[in-house]
């Protein structure tokens, strides 16, 4: 097990120095972000007519992205929350990543709601004239609570690291960064009392964010579930969405583990063992997720309710490729790759995770769009171009902009805080010795 000195030597270089590759990647992300801003200006200037959304399909890519990003935030709740509570030893190198995924996803997600609403200038009305009957109000309360809670959980785990960095004399960074560490470490010195308080606080928050996260994603599901629309009006939607969220969050964690391991040379810390463990977790969740998906569609397909049959018909014909990818390939392939030990290489597990996350996005798409294309009264419209939904470049650029901001935030955070929790790793060191 590494000592603190070794940990600092291994993990601080990325904070001290910034390579040219970092700048290039960041610039690319920034460029995509700028295109997104241009698209947003177009949308605000000309109205939502520039999107592909119309009176039938009133929610498009934006809502898909919203529920997708909110789902990613589950990585933190599950990996850091659950594993923290169960004192799972191997979690330590990946816990910081999971918490970052949570907070950053929660920051990005709501922006897609902002893009989707017609009058951005009236956003404060949600707080000024709230109606508690509306699931959107539940969402406002739940997401803001989740954001505060997850941010606190992340910060609590950062305090010790900031203190270590503050006290590390060989740290070669600009004075402002040192000042930041000094301020953010809140004068933590590592006395027994301080340690105890911090530990208790983290235990409480770990339990809380699990509960809050379940509420957030259930509420998100209920936005669809409470309506009468075929395909949405389903009692299973709450737990189904929660499982789907954990699935995507875990998938993204594997992807980010691979990226950081490669770029920051963390081979010693994030080992194959971590990939296999998180991968097995992904397989178990995939099994649950597949089960929920199956039972949701089976009941709709087997029965004779006209609206449900029409929706299933649409999914099996107009959307068959997406349906097969999202609900067969996206669930079975990751399971197969990870279930057989001989396929279990770091690269394969990462590929499985990429498939899982992409498939889940597609799954969100075929939950939102086909239902809106199957209203109770047939679509008989004067405007043929208003009938079928296809996203415009505006929506795609804003989607990509969201992804690039995601990347940029991760890149920026990794220049301030170590991507592997030094204090956690140090603790592992001690407990190992005690044993």
């Amino acid at each position: 097990m590494p000592t603190e000195k070794q940990l600092l030597q291994d993990l601080t270089p990325e904070i001290e120095k910034t390579g040219i590759r970092w700048y290039i990647t960041f610039s690319v992300f920034f460029l995509v972000f700028c295109v997104g801003i241009y698209a947003l200006i177009q949308q605000i200037d000309k109205g939502h007519i520039v999107t592909g959304m119309r009176d039938n399909v009133v929610w498009g890519l934006y809502i898909v992205n919203f529920i997708f990003f909110m789902g990613l935030s589950y990585a933190g709740a599950l990996i850091s929350g659950v594993l923290h509570l169960f004192h799972t030893g191997w979690r330590k190198p990946v816990i910081r990543l999971a918490e970052l995924i949570t907070v950053i996803s929660l920051v990005i997600g709501p922006f897609f709601i902002f893009f989707c609403i017609g009058r951005l200038d009236r956003l404060p009305f949600l707080v000024m004239y709230p109606r508690i009957q509306s699931p959107i109000t539940w969402d406002v309360i739940a997401i803001s609570t989740d954001l505060v809670g997850c941010f606190m959980f992340l910060y609590l785990s950062l305090i010790e690291d900031f203190a270590i960095l503050r006290d590390y004399n060989d740290l070669d960074v600009s004075p402002w960064k040192k000042k930041v560490y000094k301020v953010l470490s809140l004068g933590y010195t590592g006395t027994e009392k301080e340690k105890k308080i911090l530990k208790n606080a983290r235990n409480v928050m770990a339990a809380m964010i699990i509960a809050i996260a379940i509420i957030v994603y259930s509420v998100l599901a209920w936005i669809f579930g409470v309506t009468l629309q075929p395909g949405w009006h389903s009692t299973i939607f709450g737990p189904y969405f929660v499982i789907a969220a954990v699935f995507s969050g875990t998938g993204l964690l594997i992807i980010l583990m691979w990226i950081y391991r490669k770029i920051y040379h963390l081979e010693e810390y994030i080992t194959k063992r971590h990939f296999v463990n998180v991968g097995v977790l992904l397989t178990v969740i995939a099994a649950f997720y597949g089960y929920f998906t199956f039972s949701d569609y089976l009941t709709k397909w087997y029965g004779s309710i006209k609206m449900d049959s029409m929706l299933i018909d649409k999914l099996f014909h107009d959307y068959y490729a997406l349906f097969i990818f999202a609900n067969y390939v996206g669930i079975l392939l990751p399971c197969i790759i990870i279930a057989f030990p001989k396929f279990r290489t770091i690269r394969n597990i990462t590929i499985a995770a990429v498939i899982a996350v992409t498939a889940l996005w597609v799954n969100r798409y075929i939950i939102v769009i086909p239902t809106l294309e199957t209203p109770f009264l047939p679509i008989q419209d004067t405007r043929p171009d208003w009938i079928q939904y296809s996203p415009t470049w505006i929506e795609w650029s804003l989607t990509l902009a969201g992804i690039s901001v995601y990347g940029m935030l991760f890149m920026l955070v990794s220049k301030i805080a170590p991507i592997i929790s030094i204090s956690e790793m140090k603790e592992e060191d001690k407990t190992e010795i005690m044993k």
Binding site: G118, Q133, F376, T382
Partner: protein, 320 residues
């Protein structure tokens, strides 16, 4: 529309404004004449007295120069529009046997509410429940449900249900989240995807009862012509229909009229076996349908004298 007239002028909103300036009901019509004068100005008064009825029913005399028009205050209009007409419960009955897709209701609606061309609050569907059953024309206004999903899900109270049964939208409150549009199972609501570019007559204040002007980024829908109802007039679609398809009236008075004939609502329901669309959804619509039995026109006649663009929309109409 006799029944509504008997109920007495429902000018309560105007009355309130008049109370404010202390002038009687009669001033409404005179306001235009004396519109330029200002209370408390240094100008000498005309000396000419005008008799008016005060809000408490007394006949009073007021100097002609003291009369000024009651200003329409948006906040007042909006609070009145939230309450609705007391002691009423509006219903519509649509006789499917008489509809032949004349589309006069759609035109009158678009014109009366200053809707952009591609916005239709009243929609005409060509429905067929199954290949073994008949086709029929199906005019669809807003159903003004008694358990409206759209109202339940609105996060800011922009859309609301009034005492008289009407569901309205305050487009100065609407944030454009479109949740009501996914909530409504009847595809009633339309969204202003771009600036509607409607020229509002000068001096007209915004009122949810007219919903003029439509506003970019907000939701619109059929409002049962709440503005007309306040003036004891029939909704525009009802007056415009040449076939007398649409009946409108008050459930509490048990009477509906299509402008030509006035009938007992309950008797009409019993005799013609009236029903509501998709009763199983439990939204309790205020719009009733009479089945297309003993039709006045063959269904095909609805496609005869219509535009190509209109015909085109029914190309794929068929059993669902």
């Amino acid at each position: 529309m006799k029944e509504i007239e008997e109920n007495g002028g429902e000018n309560s909103s105007r009355r309130n404004f008049l109370k404010k300036v202390g002038i009687g009901v009669g001033a409404v019509s005179l306001a235009g004449i004396a519109g330029t004068s200002v209370i408390g100005s240094n100008k000498s008064k005309s000396g000419e007295k005008i008799k008016l009825l005060s809000p408490d029913g007394k006949l009073v005399e007021v100097d002609k120069d003291d009369i000024k028009p009651a200003k329409e205050i948006v906040a007042e209009l909006k609070s009145e529009a939230r309450k609705g007409l007391q002691g009423r419960k509006f219903v519509m009955v649509i006789d499917l046997a008489k509809c032949k897709n004349a589309r006069k209701c759609v035109e009158a609606c678009q014109e009366g509410h200053m809707l952009p061309k591609d916005h239709e609050w009243m929609k005409l569907y060509l429905l067929q429940d199954d290949h073994t059953t008949a086709r029929y024309w199906f005019p669809r206004p807003c159903f003004h449900c008694d358990k409206p999903m759209c109202v339940s899900v609105c996060p800011v109270g922009a859309t609301y249900k009034r005492d008289d049964g009407i569901v309205l939208i305050d487009n100065q409150r609407c944030i454009g989240c479109k949740f009501c549009m996914t909530g409504c199972p009847y595809s009633v609501r339309v969204f202003n995807w771009k600036d509607p570019e409607v020229k509002v007559p000068p001096g007209q204040a915004y009122n949810p009862e007219t919903n003029i002007p439509p506003l970019e980024g907000t939701v619109g829908k059929c409002i049962f012509c709440a503005d007309k109802l306040r003036n004891n007039e029939l909704p525009r679609c009802v007056s415009a229909c040449p076939m007398g398809v649409l009946y409108f009236g008050d459930l509490l008075e048990d009477t509906v009229t299509n402008g030509n004939e006035t009938v007992r609502f309950s008797k009409l329901m019993t005799d013609r076996a009236g029903y509501r669309f998709r009763e199983d959804l439990g939204t309790l619509p205020s719009v009733y349908y009479l089945p297309p039995t003993g039709r006045s026109f063959p269904v095909e006649s609805g496609l005869e004298d219509t535009d190509e663009s209109v015909k085109g929309r029914y190309k794929n109409a068929g059993p669902r």
